[in-house]
Symmetry: C2
DNA sequence: ACTATATATTCTTATATAGGAATATATAAG
DNA sequence: CTTATATATTCCTATATAAGAATATATAGT
């Protein structure tokens, strides 16, 4: 972002739609750069550059095998985003399970007035 | 982003750290622009512009009262992000509740081999 | 009507960065 | 050693956009 020190963090890395597409591909199985190029019909440098950004924030890792580099997602690195979103879920009833919400409230001691 | 049609979507809107800070503020209570300016010590135009972006993607709404504009978060608009993240949680054991995961698997019929 | 206040917008500028073309690097194959 | 293949990097350019300054707009108060 202009006039901001702003290098990449996980949030801005997935702010770019194409990088989300790469993550969606790589969650299925590890893939080489050219496999991604073939699958997505983007230029090879474009794919490599997006992968480089994802690597910078550890959202993907690389396994080298001869000339090939297999990329895979490191899904755990998405956790900060999940946690950031999670703090707002209670404001929209967005927890994916009602019981889960109930247990969270128990943990937080927010449930004392309910039997 | 350069050379991309890319106007704002919810993902890129929260890719900007300052906009996440605004959302964190406004989730507590609705606030006017100047209240945010006072709280965050940013310039007024900076706050207004970030609010404008958040409004474009409906992450905040505005209530006018005289000269004031009260902004509040529309947390439900974060749901696409939650859902996008959610599809990856199973790859890191990231569901916030084990029981929740269990129930999800039941729903998905992925649990037939367990008692 | 005039002034003050709250906020948005416009204009400008600096910078980040996505994408393409060309090139570099690394490794494999012959 | 030469060539082919896989990938990264460099160089360039167009564009998006964050931030500041100045200004516009809207409303309230006098």
């Amino acid at each position: 972002m202009p006039r901001t020190k702003a290098s990449y963090d996980v949030f801005s890395a997935i702010g770019e739609p194409k990088r989300r597409i790469i993550i969606e591909q790589l969650i299925q199985k590890e893939m080489t750069v050219n496999e991604l190029v073939a699958e997505l019909s983007w230029s090879q440098p474009a794919v490599s550059k997006h992968l480089a950004v994802l690597r910078q924030v550890d959202l993907v890792s690389e396994r080298r095998a001869g000339r090939f580099r297999f990329y895979r997602v490191q899904p755990r690195e998405l956790k900060p985003i999940q946690e950031w979103i999670h703090q707002f879920e209670k404001y929209w009833g967005g927890s994916l399970d009602q019981l889960d919400t109930y247990l969270q409230e128990l943990r937080l001691g927010m449930n004392n007035d309910k039997h």
